[in-house]
């Protein structure tokens, strides 16, 4: 979330990826950083350790949503 906010602050389109288990923390950080509405995409938890094939499937699943957020915020 902090990385997404840093990119957004730099004036670039940004989307943060947050897993379901970390959604409350992501929301907390976004509020604390003063950008509560920074674009984010929620993905299933966990992502780390799921393997390349599952990671690829996940990327395909969220691809359109990420592009949409980058275009429209």
């Amino acid at each position: 979330m902090r990385d997404g906010i840093a990119v957004a602050r730099a004036g670039r389109p940004a989307v943060a990826f947050v897993t379901t288990k970390f959604e409350p923390q992501g929301n907390f950080v976004a509020r604390a950083e003063g950008m509560p509405d920074v674009p984010r995409v929620i993905v299933p938890h966990p992502v780390a350790g799921i393997g390349l094939d599952a990671m690829g499937e996940l990327a395909l699943q969220i691809c359109d949503e990420v592009i949409g957020r980058l275009r429209n915020g």
């Binding site: 970390f22 409350p24 923390q25 907390f28 950080v29 604390a32 950083e33 350790g49």
Partner: protein, 351 residues
Amino acid sequence: MLSAADADAALEQLHANGCTDGLPVIIPTAERVTRMILASGLDADIELGEMGPGYGIATVEKVAVAAVMAGCTPDHISVVVAAVRAICQPEFDLTEMQCTTHCTTPMVIVNGPAREAGGFASGFGLMGPGHRANASVGRALRLTMINIGGARAGESDMAIHGSPAKFGFCFAEDEQASPFPPLHTTLGYSESQSVVTVLGVESPHSVLFTGDSNEAVFADALLQTIAEAIANPGSNNSHLGGNGAVAVVLNPEHAAILHSVGFDRSAIQRELAARALTPRALMIRLNPKMLVGKEDMIPAVRDSSKILVLVAGAPGLYTMVMPTWCAGPHGNVTVHAEVELDQFCELPTPN
């Protein structure tokens, strides 16, 4: 400012608002907080630093609230203030520490006259329980991290298991029993100064060793035993390239074994860093995806000066090793701050 019908209702309100560590607290009434601020000798609105991840400003007043809640006496507030100043230094990476899934927590070591002024324990059971100053000051620091820093389990503090040490981890070095100069003098302070030294660590890991002083073979074996504990292949230290730190709390008997054959603090640090190695082949077999480091023998601590060596505890079989998280932007740096005892104000008799 909260209001409640009575103390029981106030306690329930504090629990409900997530303002406690789960245990009962002393209700921080305006009178108690005012007394604690007065004891600090500092103005209430002095800003000691910013505490992430909520980015609250740690004023003396807010820190005094935490000290009251934790059960501190007026003799403790200067140490709490110094500990807050220390962990708010940017190189401590407080925000990252508070948010990580690791179980890291600040370990506060008290040196100098503040040890006796505050009644800090450095012998039997110094890491708890049973010593008011150690428990209260460690707890007060945690309460600042919760209420000023905004760390709450599962919401902003994402530690997977947490740690009993996160309730509070504070003790004094046993300067009298130590054969080495007091820890704070190695950081540039004089013996007459009071200092808190803080490192983010895991809970203590026990290291068993028995031997006699005056025989080099025992010193060598003791160093190797401690080094093997530091080089735990499951630790972050072993996995993350050796860029973090480690704390080693020698009991006075173990310290005497090393000192008797000529080891000083820096020699112990160098020996432990050189010996705390794990074969790369083992690390690759165990957990290849997390491994950082190219050597055939992976160091747990690459920079020997990042091994914090001090003396505390009762004489006996055990030394304590505290591994670290290692993953903050600054790689788990030791921070320190002077305890300003001369600011203490005389307190009026309570009503």
